[in-house]
């Protein structure tokens, strides 16, 4: 029997493409051309499975029009707000993702943002590279110490808990806000807040680690920002939609938010140009999970899930 046909929408790390080519008739995208919904429908004709990426919108219309031969949809991401899950469910299409494996890399990215923002990495870097550094001075580019500060984590899922573990090694006191309190072993000493008011007041550093979607859209708005202590540090390595950009930019301009570090943006890869003029913000281009180790692990787990569905087994990474 010939290998099943797998449509891969974008270029993947070499080890993952090699595995796909070994186990499937893989329709790869060596040019890494962006794919529209119409492209996907065309390329999926006669395929058994699709491995897509967060850049592609798989809305109800696209999912409804997929060829009947498609038995599983894998996404090279932990998030799935680009996929209309209700439509997939209606069509009986299992969706598999890449949970767990990028938690550490994404939490690392949040830590990097916390340090880079608090210690004014962008400004320091630009000063040095400009060749205009005139010497050490006791009052130059003073940032805010990270060790020993209070860290508030909005969304204490896998990534939030990894971040909490890292922060604890820096003597940070961890506070968190989530829909429900975690059991003590997962909480690991972090302090749960039942409401936004007490949570935000505790956040000398606020890290957003919640999922995107309508329930959290623009959660960090002007009203909530006002509840942060003056000079607070805000970082977001989760989803751009969590933040009201105009409100955060205002707060960075006024200094109410002292520093911010962002890896994600509402409407990326476009971003509110107001950020680009600010010195007290460190900006990364959504590369929270962009490590060699993590991307390989992501590719392997999503292929494991696709393999399982096609073999009639229950995948461990089924999105429910």
């Amino acid at each position: 029997m010939p290998n099943p046909v797998l449509l891969v929408t974008r270029r993947l790390p070499p080890a993952i493409e090699a595995r796909a080519a070994r186990d499937y008739q893989a329709r790869l995208n060596p040019e890494d051309t962006p794919r529209t919904g119409a492209d996907i429908l065309r390329l999926a004709q006669g395929a058994d499975a699709i491995l897509c990426c967060p850049a592609e919108k798989l809305d109800a219309a696209t999912i409804g029009a997929l060829p009947a031969s498609i038995k599983v949809l894998g996404t090279f991401s932990v998030g799935y707000d680009h996929i209309d899950l209700a439509a997939a469910r209606m069509r009986g299409l299992p969706v598999v993702n890449t949970p767990d494996v990028l938690s550490v890399a994404t939490a690392e990215c949040a830590m990097l943002l916390i340090f880079a923002a608090s210690r004014r990495a962008g400004e320091g870097e630009r000063l040095v590279r400009s060749g205009k550094w005139t010497g050490w001075c006791p009052t130059q580019l003073l940032g805010t110490q990270v060790s020993g500060r209070r860290l508030g984590i909005f969304g204490m899922g896998r990534i939030g808990r990894e971040l909490a573990r890292m922060a604890t090694a820096f003597g940070m006191q961890v506070h968190y806000r989530d829909v429900a309190r975690l059991p003590p072993d997962m909480e690991a000493g972090a302090i749960w807040h039942e409401d936004d008011v007490s949570f935000l007041a505790a956040c000398e550093v606020l890290s957003l680690n919640a999922p995107g979607g309508e329930g959290t859209r623009r959660w960090l708005n002007a009203e909530r920002i006002a509840l942060l202590p003056p000079g607070a540090v805000v970082v977001n390595a989760a989803r751009g939609t969590l933040v009201d950009d105009a409100a955060l930019i205002d707060a960075l301009r006024s200094g109410h938010v002292g520093f911010a570090g962002l890896d994600v943006y509402d409407g990326e890869p476009r971003l509110n140009p107001g950020y680009l003029d600010l010195e007290n913000v460190v900006l990364l281009p959504h590369l929270g999970s962009a490590t060699r180790e993590t991307r390989d692990a992501m590719g392997n787990i999503v292929l494991d899930g696709i393999d399982a569905v096609l073999a009639g087994r229950e995948p461990g990474n089924l999105v429910r």
Partner: protein, 321 residues
């Protein structure tokens, strides 16, 4: 009568407020002075104490010209390469530094260097400031995950130990090289190497925390960089003269090193601009202790030393005994 003080460099606000309250000082916020200007100000005010930083080269020649009224010189730094300690001792002048208070801050910056170098922070920031506008392929612009790596530390002193403790939060395996192994409670499970050369092949990430001196001058050179595994990450938040910079440039350009994070250079601020032209560097203008909290604590510690000596008590952090 309040003791008279000259502060030869700008200092943080909270320190200036304490100076106003406790000292007689013409410029409590500090003033950037040359050695000549500092000596003139000390003489004019018949000052009891001088607070300085590394910008003021405090050698035997400067000390010989100090007015006799000066009873202590306190540097607002942990390093004291700018002070001729032997000359101070010969003159019987107490000189002090500010250890301990910048340990956490410097250890934090070391992790910023590690994470920034591993995760290509400079390249990413530059992409953003240029407007981004293009998504990346899933195999494109990948960095290294720092978690779970083997971290080698040269010099497991106060700062080195603080770095090692933070490394545990990233599940790193810590290796270290010191003249002598530390007791188990300070070692905290780190693996000891007596010879630096023996440790290097096991370091995915290497961080320097040694003092500068004749035995550590250019300790990182073509040979020692060559002993690191290919693709290693190198960070230095200690002293620039620990590194042969030509060898470091070569290792970065050849790809033997994945990236380097540097807070210190041989020649500061006139560092080798070839580092700035490389994409795989993450560079800082000597900001290891650059937080409001730490710089304030350093200033306060310097004032504590001054107050102790002027009250006839022993200095808290003497550089000679």
């Amino acid at each position: 009568m309040k003791p008279r003080l000259i502060v030869s460099r700008q200092i943080p606000q909270a320190v200036a407020e304490r100076i106003r309250a406790e000292f007689d000082c013409p410029w409590p916020e500090g003033r950037d002075m040359t050695a000549d200007e500092a000596i003139a100000a000390l003489a004019e005010t018949r000052a009891d104490a001088l607070m300085l930083t590394s910008h003021l080269k405090f050698g035997a020649d400067v000390m010989a010209r100090l007015p006799a009224s000066v009873k202590i010189a306190a540097t607002c730094s942990v390093g004291y390469e700018h002070i001729d300690v032997a000359a101070a001792q010969a003159r019987g002048l107490p000189v002090t530094n500010t250890p301990d208070v910048l340990t956490d801050c410097t250890a934090d910056l070391t992790f910023l260097l590690i994470l920034g170098a591993c995760r290509r922070a400079h390249e990413y920031e530059a992409i953003m400031r240029a407007g981004w506008r293009r998504g990346f392929g899933l195999g494109e612009m990948l960095g290294l995950r720092a978690s779970g790596k083997r971290l080698g530390i040269l010099g497991l002193g106060r700062i080195g130990q603080a770095v090692a403790q933070r490394a545990r939060g990233f599940g790193m395996q810590v290796l270290y090289c010191n003249p002598r192994p530390l007791p188990a409670e300070q070692e905290q499970g780190a693996t000891y190497f007596a010879r630096f050369e023996d440790m290097l092949p096991h370091c995915d990430i290497l961080s320097l925390h040694a003092r500068s001196g004749p035995d550590t001058l250019n300790i990182m050179n073509a040979k020692t960089f060559g002993l690191l595994p290919k693709g290693a990450v190198f960070v230095n938040a200690a002293r620039g003269n620990l590194v042969d910079e030509q060898a470091l440039l070569d290792a970065l350009q050849s790809g033997h090193l994945f990236a380097a994070g540097l807070d210190v250079f041989h020649d500061e601020p006139n560092f080798d601009l070839r580092f700035a032209a490389l994409p795989n560097t993450f560079l800082f203008p000597h900001m290891g202790s650059a937080t409001v909290e730490t710089r304030t604590a350093m200033g306060m510690r310097a004032l504590d030393n001054i107050a102790a000596v002027l009250a006839g008590k022993p200095a808290i952090d003497p550089l000679w005994r």
